[in-house]
Subunit: 344 residues, 2 copies
Amino acid sequence: MKDSLVFGVDVGGTSIKIGVFNLEGELLLNDEITTNVLENTIIKDIADFIINYIYDNKKTIIDITGIGLGLPGPVNDFGEVQKCVNLNWGVFNIEEEFKNIFINEYFEKFNKKVDRNEVFIKATNDANCAGLGENWKGSAKNFKNSVFITLGTGLGGAIIINEKIVNGNNGAAGEIGHIVVDYDEKELCSCGKTGCLEQKVSATGIVKIAKKLFEDNNKENNKDNNTENKLNNDLSAKKESLTAKDIFDAAKTGNEFANEVIEIYSKYLGIGLSHVATLVNPEAFIFGGGMSKAGELVYNRAIKYFDKYVFLPCKNVSFNLAELGNKAGMYGAAFYVLSCKDKK
Amino acid sequence: MKDSLVFGVDVGGTSIKIGVFNLEGELLLNDEITTNVLENTIIKDIADFIINYIYDNKKTIIDITGIGLGLPGPVNDFGEVQKCVNLNWGVFNIEEEFKNIFINEYFEKFNKKVDRNEVFIKATNDANCAGLGENWKGSAKNFKNSVFITLGTGLGGAIIINEKIVNGNNGAAGEIGHIVVDYDEKELCSCGKTGCLEQKVSATGIVKIAKKLFEDNNKENNKDNNTENKLNNDLSAKKESLTAKDIFDAAKTGNEFANEVIEIYSKYLGIGLSHVATLVNPEAFIFGGGMSKAGELVYNRAIKYFDKYVFLPCKNVSFNLAELGNKAGMYGAAFYVLSCKDKK
C-alpha cells in the first residue's frame, strides 16, 4: 500500500488533465492530453495514459488504489452520466464503460487479464471535483463545510458538507448558476430556462448588464444630460465588442460606468450566495475561475449584498480565493475516488 | 438490547411531546407535558418524565439507548443552542446541561449514581426533527434525499441528504423561509432582514398579499371600474380581520380575488422550492404544517412555478404530504439520537 497510486483525471472539452498522486495526496506527476471528441477516443486515451505510466514505472494494477474522473456534466451516484454536451456523450454508465476499455487495453499492454473488481473507478461532475480538490489540499482544507464557486465563462458550484460532496438525486446539485434571480427575464439561458443567476454573473452576463445599462442611460440621457459623462468614451466606443475584461480594466482605473456595472453584477452574486448560505449554512465560500482573479472588485463588493440578504445565523461565512488553480479538478477527482473507497 | 428504549422529545413553546420508542421505531407511548417557560423547569420536567417512566416500567439507565431532543431554534453539532426565543433560552450547551440535571434527578429517584457517558443525549432543531421523522417512518421513508417544508404560521425547512440532516456550520441550515425573494421589500421580517420568502409564504404572509392586492386593485379601480367585481364583498368587508383561512375558504368557493392571492403566494413558494431543488437536487418535497392541508390549493399550484424556475436536471421531484402530523418531531428526535449513536 505504501507505494500505491491514485489517478485524478479532469476531463475538459479541449484537454484532459491527469494527475498521479500518492495516498497522502502528493502530486507526483501531472500531464495534459488532447480531448479527442471527434473520434471519441476519450476513455481509451485516458486508460492508455494510465496503463503506460504504470508499465513504464514497473508497476501493475495492484499498485493502483483508484482512478477518479471529473466530467463536464452531471454524474449520478451509480456512475451514469446524464449528458456531457462538450464531449458529445449521451446517457451511459461511464464507470462500467471505463472498466471495459481499461481491461482491454491492460491486456494489450501486459498480456494479463484484470478482474473487474480490481479496477476501482469513480466519476463525478468537474465542479464537484474542483470543490473537493480545494477541500483536500487547497484553501478549504481547514473547513468541514464549504461551497466552491467558479466565476468564469459560466457560474458553477459545489456544496461540501462534512467533507462530502452533495451530489443530489441525479448528480445535479450545487448548480448555483441556475438559481432564478430575475423573474421577468425574457432571454433564454443556455440551460433552457430564463432568469438564471448565470445570465448575470458570468463573462457574458456582465457584458449584457453593461449593454442594458448603456441603453437605459441613453434613454435617460434624452431627459437628463448629466448622465452623459457616465458613458466613458473608451467603453462606449467598444460597445459591440465589449468584453468582461474591458469592464474590469476600466473599473480599476476608476471608470464610473464600469463600476456601476460591477455593482449590479455583485448584487446578483450576493443574492445567489445568500440563498446558498441560508440553505446550507457553510463555513466558507471558495472562489475559483478566471473572474475570481478580479478578487476585490468582484466578491468583496458582493459581500455587502450578501450581508443584506442572508439569514443572520448563517452570516458568518469566510470568503476565500481558490489556491489550486486549474489543478483543483485533478486533486478533487483523486480525493473523490479515495473517499468512495473508504465507504466500501 | 432487545427491550432497549429510545425517547424522542419535541419541545415546543407551549407543550412538550414525548414519545417512547423501541429500536425498530415502534411508538410504545406518547404523552404531552406543559412547557414551563416561566419557572424554566423545562429540562427537569423532561428528565423527570423519562426517569419516572423507566422506574414505573422496572427499567434502569442501561435500558435507554438514547434521548433525542427537538428544540425550537438552531443547535450546532456540539449541542450548543444559539437561542430559543420561545423558551426564553440564551446560548448554552443543552446536551451537557441535560446530562447534569438528568443525573441529579436519577439519583433522587433510584438512589444510584449514573456515569455521564451512560446518558446518550443529542439535540437538534425541531424542523430537522420533523423532516427526519418523515424520513424514518413517514411519507419520505422511501427517499434517500428529501426536503421537508412546514407551511404554517411560518415557513420552515429541513434538508436530508443520504438520510442525514444537513445541519450546517451552526445548526442554521435549511431555512428556506429566510431566502430573499423580494429584493425591494421595505417591511422587516421577524428574522430582522427584509424580503424573506416567509413574508409571503406563511399564514400572515398570505394576508399581507391580500391586503396589498386590495390596495392595488383600489388604485386601479379609479381608472377602471371592471376590477370592482374582483373584490368579493365577503372578503372586502373582513379586510381588517382577514385570516389565511378566510382566503382559502373563499378560494374553494371559486372566489376570483382569493384565487389571485393564492396564485401570488404559490408563485413565491414555487420560486423558493426551485432554489432548494437547484442547489440540493432532492428526490422529494414533503409538506407539513397547518397550511399544507389546503394541499391542492397550495402546493399543486406552486408546481407550475417550480417547473418554470427550476434547473431542468433537478425538475423531477415528487411532491408529497407529510404523514405523521404533529408526531413527526418525536419520531425524528428519536431517529436523530439513534443515527448519532451509530456514528460513535
